[in-house]
């Protein structure tokens, strides 16, 4: 396996970005972008201009697509570095890697995604009282709780721009757990916040569903939450 990594780098928030190309080879056919970056960190790599490659600043944790830390932009699309197999680019010979574009860059591939989390607080995603235990397994709550808060959906969402009224799918996914679980009398505030910060701004293009690296069924979550928060009189669609 042999591929050229064209990495968009940036020393710090103030510096101008630059491109660094590194030839990477591995005996492991399954090698992921995250592991390749790890190998590069270990040292001994030169870029195509013959310069020593400094460790590439980035975030990662689980290396198995379960924590959302390593989200980057790969050939123009957001993806998890640990879920990106380099063999998929071998034929083309190169792959472009850069930081997520909707968040401020701290350095190299590391971006500040704080807005994702502050939105959750602004939406008021919590329960004030003990939640009743359902009769059977709650598949909607399960699906909603799987969200990694990685931000890939925000990256592709045509309507999301950090700091504006519309919060995007990451917030909606988290909200949909409690919209499902809270008794109607206790979810008025959350319903209002959901309508204001999600429902009213979502164009339903479902770009979020197609990109979500966790494969979350964002459409079902949306249908369920919209029914709870907006279309109450239609009754709620339950997962099969």
């Amino acid at each position: 396996m042999r591929v050229r990594l064209d990495i968009k780098r940036q020393r710090d928030a103030q510096s101008a970005p630059y491109l660094q190309s590194i030839l990477y080879e591995s005996g492991d056919e399954n090698v992921t972008l995250a592991s390749a970056l790890g190998d590069i960190d270990a040292g001994g790599f030169k870029d195509t201009d013959g310069r020593e490659v400094e460790p590439i600043i980035r975030e990662q944790s689980c290396l198995q697509k379960k924590c959302g830390a390593c989200a980057v932009v790969v050939d123009g699309r957001p993806a998890l570095a640990c879920g990106t197999r380099l063999r998929d680019f071998e034929r083309k010979g190169y792959v472009n890697v850069g930081p997520l574009r909707k968040f401020p860059v701290i350095a190299d591939l590391l971006v500040d995604r704080s807005v994702i989390f502050s939105q959750l607080t602004q939406l008021g995603i919590w329960a004030e009282n003990a939640l009743p235990c359902p009769e059977n397994t709650d598949d909607i709550a399960y699906e909603a709780s799987r969200c990694l808060q990685c931000g890939c959906c925000l990256e592709v969402c045509p309507n999301f721009c950090p700091g504006e009224k519309f919060f995007g799918m990451s917030a909606a996914a988290a909200a949909s757990r409690l919209l499902e679980q809270l008794p109607p009398s206790e979810r008025r505030e959350l319903e209002k916040a959901y309508s204001r910060h999600f429902y009213s701004g979502c164009g339903k293009s479902l770009a979020c569903r197609d990109i979500c690296p966790a494969g979350i069924d964002t459409e079902s979550l949306m249908v369920n939450s919209n029914a709870a928060a907006v279309w109450k009189f239609l009754g709620r669609r339950k997962h099969g």
């Binding site: 198995q64 701290i106 919590w126 235990c133 059977n136 399960y142 709780s145 409690l178």
Partner: protein, 527 residues
């Protein structure tokens, strides 16, 4: 006083924060990464509680017995008593927070797990950790909004503030801005296991670098049972790490075998007719290691999950099936999966008493970084429980006592960036001696190699010193107990059924055994 300082926002850190916040006590929740990235989200199989929803006549007393026996009687009996007694209450609380457990008839369904004779493990399909983390994160958010909990989610531990050998606060570095922050108050360390010492060899996250532990060790904090490292029997090698195949796969009917004389040999079922494939992890891992080495067997140990029903795959293990399909390109419902042992859990760690107090006044530890509950071997499903209960217990001790010391001076370790090369070298050396089967020769050779490594000062030196203490502890425990198997001392030695403490004093590591606490008469309450 800024509040209680919690280092780490996984299960134990969140549990501590929630307990403090519910009592109106301010806390500062610091972590290198947000909760969503903590290792706790990886937990798959479930959490133990003798809630007996399956009508098997389970009890907290049986949970206690299984935990003590699984840990080969090296755990603090009073702490384990508290853990197992409180488990049903913790499960109830988690349900009230909305964790979407597998539920039937309004009660959590429990599954079989290793080392337990009853169905005792509550689960949410095969993503239990993620489900609990999402619910706990939401619960803590409520108090963030009220200003009771303040998060610092990209901040790295740099050192403690000390006043006459007592801990009065901690110092952090904002990894975005590089700025240094100092907070005053009592400290609960919840920083996870020492996975960072074993890159590519663990099922956990190397973002749990072990750097907090290294720094606390260098500061003279007592550590315990550092030789007790759990290998999970069923892991698969994927790019950059070992990936866990949850014990629930065996709990739901998965079987281990190896080829012998052209036939499948179900060695666990033959050797252990009672618990079969669900023996405690140390036993399964050692058996796998030995059958693979045996002259008459061929190939890898295989985990056969082809007998699991479509319903089990869909309702109980859906994420596991997707993961194996994606990582190995095979469907475990159709073909057996080759598995090997991988480093999975650190039973040893920062020494704590049953209230989670460390040897330093004002400093607490909980979760995987602390040595509590699991003795020489942890039972599956007991660590999430231990993390949640431990965080809570530390918080309760703080709520029940007063901050007496204030002021103090920061004691900061020079933050030499972990050189990936050095980390890999340390990992190779440790792995050569701290495998499933150990011996004096191997450990001594590793110590010599470790001493030959060149490193600067600061954090690198602290890392080396903790690595050295792990090897020394493995050498010192001249017996076999749980995860620590010495081929030169292959039996447990009752005289060594004691906690092995490692401490760094004036730059030199000293080791000593400490007696285990006596078990109090039941329901006498905590001292």
């Amino acid at each position: 006083m800024d509040g209680v300082i919690i280092i780490g926002a996984g299960l134990s850190g969140l549990s501590a924060a929630l307990t403090l916040a519910e009592h109106g006590k301010r806390c500062i929740l610091v972590s290198a990464q947000p909760s969503e990235r903590a290792q706790s989200v990886l937990a798959e199989g479930g959490i133990n509680a003798a809630a007996d929803t399956m009508g098997e006549g389970d009890s907290t007393a049986l949970h206690y017995e299984d935990t003590m026996k699984g840990g080969v009687y090296l755990a603090d009996p009073n702490a384990v008593e508290g853990l197992t007694e409180n488990a049903p209450m913790i499960l109830k609380k988690l349900t009230e927070l909305g964790v979407p457990f597998n539920i039937s008839g309004g009660r959590p369904v429990l599954r079989n797990f290793g080392g337990q004779k009853k169905k005792r493990t509550a689960y949410a399909k095969s993503s239990t950790g993620k489900m609990i983390m999402s619910a706990l994160t939401d619960a803590v958010r409520r108090y963030e909004a009220k200003g009771i909990v303040t998060r610092y989610p990209h901040h790295i531990f740099m050192g403690l503030i000390m006043s006459r050998k007592k801990c009065t606060g901690a110092v952090f570095r904002d990894s975005y801005s590089g700025k240094q922050l100092m907070f005053h108050g009592r400290v609960i360390v919840c920083c996870g296991g020492m996975n960072g010492f074993f890159p590519e060899k663990t099922t956990g996250t190397t973002a749990n670098t072990g750097d907090v532990q290294a720094q606390l060790f260098a500061l003279g904090t007592e550590f315990a049972n550092l030789e007790m490292i759990q290998y999970h029997p069923t892991t698969i090698g994927i790019s950059g790490k070992r990936c866990l195949v949850t014990e629930a796969a065996r709990g739901e009917g998965g079987r281990l075998y190896i080829m012998r004389g052209g036939e499948r040999w179900y060695f666990m079922e033959e050797k252990y007719p009672e618990l079969k494939n669900l023996m405690p992890r140390d036993v399964v891992a050692r058996e796998m290691f030995s059958v693979r080495r045996s002259a008459d067997t061929e190939g890898e140990v295989m985990l056969d999950m082809t007998g699991l029903s479509a319903e089990v795959w869909q309702k109980r293990l859906p994420d596991l099936r997707c993961e194996i399909k994606e990582q190995l390109g095979i469907d475990p419902a159709d073909v057996p999966v080759p598995v090997r042992e991988g480093i999975h859990y650190f039973m040893g760690g920062i020494y704590v008493d049953e209230h989670h107090r460390t040897s330093v006044v004002g400093l607490y530890a909980a979760g995987e970084c602390a040595c509590q509950y699991h003795g020489a071997n942890r039972l599956g499903g007991n660590s999430m429980l231990g993390a949640i209960y431990g965080g809570r217990t530390a918080a309760e001790d703080i709520l029940g006592s007063k901050d007496t010391v204030q002021g103090g001076e920061p004691v900061i370790t020079e933050q030499t960036a972990a050189s990936v090369k050095l980390v890999r070298e340390i990992s190779d050396i440790l792995s050569s001696a701290l495998g499933i089967v150990r011996s004096e020769d191997e450990i001594s050779a590793a110590l010599v190699r470790l001493d030959g490594l060149r490193c600067g000062g600061g954090l690198d030196k602290a890392r080396l010193s903790l690595a050295r203490a792990m090897l020394m502890s493995a050498l010192e425990r001249r017996e076999s107990r749980g995860a620590h198997f010495r081929e030169d001392y292959s039996k447990p030695d009752e005289a060594m059924r004691r906690t092995l403490i490692a401490r760094c004093k004036d730059g030199v590591t000293e080791l000593y055994f400490r007696e285990l606490p006596e078990r109090r008469a039941q329901h006498e309450g905590k001292a």
